[in-house]
């Protein structure tokens, strides 16, 4: 069905065509079967969310925005970045919408469209992934130092006690562990990235 050429009134008389393919696009890019189109706007997700207070839109509202095709507003929302992946909304949703996976999709779409407002979270993910791609394992100390130096240098002094505590208790390794099949992993990930681009 071709999307109807409707327009949505925005601001003072500003009119912009609705992007009615957005919902479908998000559903397609999500790992499982998202059931996104089934949302009945009941608010179970927003009610369940432990971090809803810090979100600019509740997940329910985000889905309404998706349905209305407001691409920029959706991708600029901080909601996916505040999502803590607790899956409370997922198991309670009466329509079986895979909300948490949709959040992952929205994050990666926001990164690709460079539409996130605060780069802390994307950078954290990127740094984490960087270590994983280069060693095959995560590296907490490296991640922490690199990340805090860039994003929260002021937090560092306060954190040092904890960091030292972790180090002295040998709960943080000084050097990263490298897996043996790193080349294999890299070829897999490279191939996967090509496939991601082509899909």
């Amino acid at each position: 069905m071709a999307p109807a050429e409707t327009v949505l009134t925005q601001g003072a008389g500003l009119k912009k065509p609705e992007d009615l393919t957005l919902l479908h696009e998000v559903a397609e890019a999500t790992a499982g079967v998202s059931h996104l189109e089934m949302c009945i706007q009941c608010g179970t997700c927003g009610g369940s969310c432990p971090s809803a207070a810090d979100m600019d839109h509740t997940p329910r509202m985000l889905f309404a925005l998706l349905r209305a095709g407001l691409r920029e507003e959706v991708l600029r929302s901080n909601t996916p970045w505040i999502c803590v992946s607790c899956y409370h909304c997922v198991v309670r949703c009466p329509q079986e919408v895979h909300i948490a996976d949709v959040m992952y999709t929205l994050k990666s779409m926001a990164i690709k469209a460079k539409l996130y407002r605060d780069e802390t979270a994307p950078d954290f993910s990127a740094s984490f992934v960087d270590f994983v791609e280069n060693y095959g394992r995560s590296f907490e100390l490296g991640l922490a130092t690199r990340f805090y130096l860039k994003h929260a240098p002021l937090r560092l002094p306060g954190m040092s006690g904890m960091g030292i505590g972790m180090l002295t208790r040998k709960r943080m390794n000084m050097t990263p562990t490298k897996i043996k099949g790193l080349d294999q992993l890299k070829s897999i990930l490279n191939k996967a990235k090509t496939l991601e681009l082509s899909s």
Partner: protein
């Protein structure tokens, strides 16, 4: 395969159904193709028409039968379940045996489900060809007439069953009303007030119960269950177990002394919904019909360790009879109405609402009992401690309903019941009431007005499905309360509302044993477990099984007015059958060719209707045509090919397979032959 009969003259009629069919299928193309390519199978005329089922369309066929001497008719139109009867009757009017006319569904199976015109047309041609080839082998059949027994069985003594029984009994025919609890009345007897009028439930129900209890045409069988059903429409044979009451009904006066003297008290899980107690010898409630109590043997001290007998000691008429046994009754009835009602959703399954873990979370039925003046709190609304009055109450809608994790359907009464609760809480305690809803559904007469009344009373409405009810306080003002966490979707914010009491408006579910009951009576359930109607709109109280009707919540959630209407509607259908005095049975039946039967007895255990019997002297098998239901399982089973089934004979099906494959592309797969 037996030889093809002499080529009969076939007429083919293709319906446009307005544009329902012709919008997707090239109707003229199908018509011409049939005329040209099926002439070899005997097609002498092929026509199309805008609406075949209209009287003009039917007359067209009738005229052809008479003028062209048609011996077989094939109508390509809608599903046979809709219009097979129409066209067969039309043929009959023109002097053609109705069973020589067949319908091809090119609407439900083609035009409505496909979009590509060329492909849909090809498929229609195949289906028409199949039926043309088949119909050549159809034979003239006559319906079997059997008398109808005028007695009726009504299963379930709730309001729907009571209504159905009274209507039939008042019409002058006998009814056996079977109820498994000790009293009739059903769920309605548990309620305090009924929405939207706020009539006292007992006040409007009791007169009906009494009327049913004393009606000369009603045999009331409470504390009874149907064990087996055999036979068919007009002639069912039903075995009913009358469970031992341990009270002699002839002697009992219903004085209640035994109940008073019984020292043993248990939680009443049924009538009091688990929040009240009853004695071990009991009538579920004061207005019970019949008035005789029953002894709950598994909990009775005497049955457990042979001591007590307090009831027996005090009974003034010696009506207590510990030796009573279950009784089995055999009754013959012509029709059956199932009004078996519903179960309530088990709120413990929604663990995030805390029912069963957090004491002051109640279910709607618990709340009904609490509001009821004869209930465990004498009508006082209190917390689980039985004393404290709540200052704030939250009513949560749709618990277990409209939720794919539980029941996907709307419970239909829960909005109104929740509004009623808000009103009752206000009226009796003055507490603040929050209603948490997804959508407010108040569509029937005077229902929306009631919603407005509750709004006017100051009830606080929050639009949002509650996420959780918790006792984990985050702030000082939440401590010691139940916190209802919800997104208020109208403001897009999460709210935490501390309350003293939570009422869960739980939904309706099919009876836990509905599937077994359905099997007992030969009817089926929909995917969610409710009994399936013959047609959801046009035949809502009939089932696919002739002579078995359904009423009330057995087929889905309903309010009281709808249940009563259905009870009356089912009764009207039964009265209609009874007054016809006899019933025509479909002539789709199996019969044994005794010369070919080897007596191998392969088929002997296949018939659930006991139509197949083995004749020892002759060492052959025979089929009783009145008992045969025409399923054809024995026909398909006979290793000697000695059983034939009318209407669906091997020849008919073989020809139909050939026909529908006429157009199968002859592809080359490189066969090296």
């Amino acid at each position: 395969m037996s030889d093809k009969p002499e080529k009969p003259r076939v007429g083919v009629y293709v319906c446009h159904c307005g544009s329902n069919i012709s919008g997707v299928v090239d109707v003229e193309g199908v018509r011409d193709w049939a005329q040209e390519h099926l002439a070899k199978d005997g097609v002498v005329i092929s026509r199309d028409y805008k609406f075949m089922c209209s009287s003009l369309g039917q007359e067209l066929i009738e005229k052809d039968i008479k003028e062209l001497g048609l011996e077989r008719v094939v109508v390509a139109a809608c599903s046979p379940h809709l219009h097979e009867k129409t066209f067969r009757t039309a043929s009959e009017r023109a002097g053609l045996n109705p069973y020589l006319t067949e319908l091809v569904s090119i609407r439900e199976q083609v035009s409505w489900v496909h979009t590509d015109k060329a492909v849909a047309t090809e498929k229609s041609k195949s289906l028409v060809a199949g039926t043309v080839e088949r119909v050549v082998y159809n034979t003239a059949l006559e319906k079997l007439k059997v008398p109808i027994n005028p007695n009726t069985l009504v299963v379930g003594g709730g309001i729907a069953g009571i209504q159905a029984a009274l209507e039939i009994a008042n019409g002058g025919f006998h009814v056996y009303l079977v109820e498994r609890e000790p009293s009739i009345g059903g769920h309605m007897a548990q309620f305090d007030k009924t929405f939207p009028t706020l009539d006292c439930s007992a006040c409007i129900l009791t007169p009906r119960m009494v009327e049913a209890g004393y009606h000369p045409n009603i045999t009331l069988l409470t504390w009874s269950e149907v064990m087996s059903v055999s036979g068919y429409v007009g002639n069912f044979n039903v075995t009913i177990k009358k469970k031992a009451r341990f009270v002699n009904e002839e002697l009992c006066t219903g004085c209640g002394i035994c109940v008073e003297k019984c020292p043993q008290q248990v939680v009443d899980e049924i009538y009091e919904a688990g929040i009240g107690h009853r004695k071990v010898v009991y009538t579920p409630f004061a207005q019970a019909v019949p008035k005789y109590p029953v002894i709950d043997a598994p909990n009775c001290t005497f049955f457990k360790n042979g001591k007590c007998k307090a009831c027996e000691k005090f009974c003034p008429t010696n009506a207590i009879d510990f030796a009573q046994q279950d009784e089995y009754l055999n009754v013959e009835v012509g029709n059956i109405i199932l009004a078996t009602g519903y179960d309530l959703f088990d709120a413990r399954r929604v663990t995030n609402y805390g029912y069963g873990r957090l004491p002051d979370v109640f279910t709607s039925l618990e709340f009904e009992r609490m509001c009821n003046a004869s209930g465990p709190t004498n009508g006082e609304i209190t917390l689980r401690d039985g004393k404290t009055k709540p200052k704030t109450v939250g009513v949560i809608h749709c618990v277990g309903s409209r939720d794919k994790n539980f029941n996907n359907y709307c419970s239909s009464i829960c909005c109104m019941q929740s509004l009623k609760f808000a009103h009752l809480v206000k009226e009796r305690t003055g507490a603040d009431v929050y209603e948490f809803y997804i959508d407010m559904r108040t569509p029937m007469k005077s229902y929306d007005e009631f919603y407005q009344r509750v709004l006017d009373e100051g009830t606080l409405f929050v639009r949002g499905k509650v996420a959780e009810v918790t006792n984990a306080a985050r702030a000082e003002h939440e401590k010691g309360k139940l916190i209802i966490q919800v997104e208020d979707t109208l403001i897009g914010k999460q709210r935490r509302i501390p309350v003293d009491m939570v009422v869960l408006s739980i939904g309706m579910e099919p009876r836990a044993d509905s599937k077994q009951t359905g099997q007992l009576f030969g009817i089926s359930c929909s995917a969610d477990g409710w009994y399936l109607e013959r047609h959801p709109k046009l035949d809502p109280v009939s089932t696919m099984t002739e002579g078995v009707f359904i009423a009330g919540c057995a087929s889905g959630p309903k309010d009281i007015p709808a249940s009563v209407s259905q009870g009356a509607a089912a009764a009207a259908r039964v009265l209609d059958k009874i007054l016809q005095k006899e019933v025509e049975l479909e002539p789709i039946r199996a019969s044994v060719n005794e010369a070919k039967c080897s007596g191998c007895r392969i088929c002997n255990n296949l018939c659930p209707f006991n139509a197949i019997s083995f004749i020892d002297d002759l060492a052959i098998t025979r089929i009783n045509p009145a008992l045969c239901q025409g399923c054809g399982t024995c026909v398909a089973a006979c290793p000697a090919g000695a059983i034939n089934g009318t209407g669906f004979s091997n020849e008919q099906i073989f020809a139909q397979i050939d026909g529908i494959l006429t157009l199968a592309p002859a592809r080359s797969a490189g066969v090296g032959l």
